[in-house]
Structures are given as structure tokens and as C-alpha cells.
Symmetry: C2
Subunit: 240 residues, 2 copies
């Protein structure tokens, strides 16, 4: 937890300054890990809003009271819409956290031939669990802007009916570690789409359908990476 | 398992061609996941040697026999010596696998103020466990060259006595997400060193000691990444 995130309903109609008392899991984390004294400063952020600092005005074994000032914009998002073939649940959780930490704001979890049907049943996809996963990623990355996660359980309708609008005026790539792919470009600042396949990769039909929608296949080299390794490697090379 | 790795003691004195029968966990994986028929081809590699293809000459419910041809060099290693503050055991395992997959061949697991002493007791650091972890990383990345892992439980003697020789004639960076760091460079092909700190980062004393040894602080931006996210992001940006 590199920033303590405040929920809009807690902050209410306060502007850039205000006082806040916490007694939930954030208090437990602060009290047990950070162990601040009265007068110490902590990093805070308003979900959907600004970052800032909070001065501890009171702390006991029940709660902490903070004098909060919010005055700094969150770090800029990555200019990417991510299409991610739904990974198995444990990998999904780590990958979504990494997305939130790295600054991806639009995530489409899509079906693919090699996605096991059972993966769509995982409780990690329920709204509360998704939100908790994404919040922990934001807390890691010191960001306040929640990513949007869209579930698309059918590949073909998504690619044929929805993708043309999403790609309009944007560059789009399919990560595909094959010799025919071009090397992954770098220093991209323009709005882009990136598709990452499941373990085992997209099948040819899917790569072709994405190509029809304007996606160029790119590669980081001959090594086959796990999804959770490929994601930061691709985002970093493309955008950082 | 994107390549079936053969141990030198199994291959013996054969040159680039030979026949091999497997009945261990590799057979179980092949039979249950790949499910090949006689005549099918599988990717293989000799640990420490070449990659190639194997034709299934026989498969039953006990074993598989392969006609192996080894004729392709493994992918080039990354030109980096990695200094990694020992992560907690679960993260260590995933991170070492990712190192092997990405082509890091020299890994120094080092101590740091924020490394918990108990981490050095993990069974994952025992020789057999390390080897198994690294092999699974090579199998993922289709590589045959085992990384060397060096354990350095004392920071100061390592940095003062050993590091000067390791850095001689090389660029060296400390990953340090602070405003004073320079942006992480890219397209590096020269031999280099990269130091990655623990969760919470290197302390100032450690950053300074590394700076005395010639390490420049670099950053991927304002976001704080977990070690397992930072590693592929940094290696990709620097070397891929």
C-alpha cells in the first residue's frame, strides 16, 4: 500500500482539504505496517480524484484521524485499451493488479479458443472482487483512477461488431511471438490497442480476425512469455 | 512447457542426433497435455546445448520414444547481470522463473536492509529447488542455458569487495522510482548490470553504495511496481 485511497462517499463534498477518520483495514495496515506518530505525514489519494498528503492528527488503537490535503494529479494513464484473453483465476488476479499499477484504464477480458470455459465462473470476476483487485493495484502504483473492466464472453461478436469502433483512428497490435511478427515498437504516445492471448496463444483464426480489424502482430523476440510476464514487458516496451 | 529439455547425462555422448525414451514427469506432461501420435513432432532442447525437433517413434501408457535432432542454437541471452534483493519466497520463485524465461544468465540474490532475514531460510534457495525453478523458466522461454544464481547474504562486502570486478567496463543501473532518477534507457546491447531492490526499495545508504560502485539510478516513471512487475518491465525496456 503505497498510497491510502479515500472513497468518494467518505470524502463527501469536501474540496481539496478536509479531516478524515479511518477505522477499517486501512487503519489496521497503517497502524501495523507504517506505525506513524501524531504529526507524521502519509500519502493519500481520492479515488477518481487527486493525490496528496495527510498529517496524522490523532492515532490510538481504534482509529486514525488525518488532516488531508489533495493537490496533485494522479500519474498519467497509459494510452492503451487492453484486450486480454481471460487468464486462469490466479493469473487473472495478478494480471489485473499489474494493469491497475501500470496505468491501464480500459481492459476488455475476452474469450479465445484456448480460454477454458470454467475460467468465466471465477468469483474474481464478480464486481466487488474485481474492484478490490483493482484497488490493490492502484494502491501499489500510487494512482487514483479506477480501470474499467469489460467482460466479453464471445470472441466473434466482439471482434466483428464492437472492435471496429474501438480501433477507429488508433494503432492496434496483437502480441504474437512468431517469426512473421514485427519487433515490438517503443515510445508510443498515441492512443493504441494491445491484444494479448491466452497461455498457448491465440489460434490462427483469432489472429486473422484481429488482423482484419487492423491489428498488426508484434513480438518481443523468440522467447514465449507467461501472460503475467508478457503484460509488463509489452506495456513497458511500448509506452514507458 | 514449450520445449522438452533433455539432461546431458541422458544424452550422453550422442552428437546432434539420437534416440531417447522418457518415462518421467516429462512423459506425463507430453501424454496428458500434448497427446501426440506416433510421427508427430515435438520441440526439444539439450540443457546447455542446442534446440531441435523430436519425432515420436513410439508412445504407450508407460513411456515415449523420440528421434531427436538438435540443430538450432538457443535464443541469445540478455547482456545483463542482475542484482536482486532477495524477495519473499513466493515472489522469489516467480521472479527467478521469469529471469530464466527472459534470458538472464547471471543472478546475484543480495541482502538489503528491507529483506527479512527469514527469507534466506526458504527451501526455494536449496540447490535442487533452485534448479527446478530455473528449468521451468527455461521450458517456458524455449531456452537451454541454465542461469547461474549466486547468494550474497551480506550487502556491504558484496558491494565493496566483489562488485568492482563485476562492473568493470560495464554500464550499471539501480532501478529506483524517485524523481531524481533518469528515465530508463532502451535498446541496450552492451554488457550491463541492473540492481532491483526489495519491496519498499533500497534504503539511501544502499543506493549510495551502489552509486559509489558506478550504478546510475533509473526509473520507469512515478508508479511504484512490485518486484515481479518491475523485473519484466525493466528488462524489456532496457534490452528487448
Amino acid at each position: 500500500m503505497n498510497v491510502i485511497l479515500i472513497h468518494p462517499h467518505e470524502w463527501g463534498s469536501k474540496a481539496s482539504q478536509g479531516t478524515l477518520t479511518l477505522n477499517d483495514h486501512r487503519f489496521v495496515h497503517i497502524a501495523s505496517v507504517i506505525q506513524p506518530k501524531s504529526g507524521d505525514q502519509l500519502r493519500v489519494g481520492l479515488i477518481g480524484g487527486q493525490l496528496g498528503m495527510a498529517t496524522v492528527s490523532q492515532i490510538d488503537n481504534q482509529s486514525i484521524t488525518l488532516d488531508v490535503t489533495l493537490d496533485t494529479p494522479p500519474p498519467p494513464p497509459l494510452p492503451v485499451t487492453l484486450l486480454l484473453a481471460l487468464p486462469r483465476p490466479k493469473v487473472l488476479r495478478r494480471t489485473l493488479q499489474a494493469c491497475a499499477t501500470l496505468g491501464v484504464k480500459q481492459i476488455y477480458l475476452i474469450n479465445s479458443y484456448r480460454v477454458e470455459k470454467s475460467y468465466w465462473q471465477t468469483p474474481f470476476l464478480e464486481a466487488d472482487a474485481l474492484r478490490e483487485t483493482l484497488l490493490s493495484g492502484l494502491e501499489q502504483g500510487r494512482d487514483t483512477l479506477m480501470p474499467d473492466v469489460h467482460l466479453r464472453k464471445r470472441f466473434k461478436p466482439f471482434v466483428e461488431d464492437e472492435l471496429p469502433q474501438l480501433t477507429e483512428g488508433k494503432q492496434a497490435w496483437t502480441a504474437h511471438p512468431m517469426p512473421e511478427s514485427v519487433p515490438c515498437p517503443g515510445n508510443i504516445t498515441a492512443p493504441s490497442l494491445l491484444a494479448i492471448g491466452p497461455e498457448g496463444g491465440f489460434i490462427t483464426y483469432e489472429v486473422d480476425k484481429l488482423a482484419e480489424a487492423g491489428f498488426q502482430t508484434i513480438s518481443l523476440g523468440p522467447r514465449i512469455l507467461k501472460v503475467e510476464t508478457a503484460l509488463p514487458a509489452l506495456l513497458s516496451k511500448l509506452f514507458l
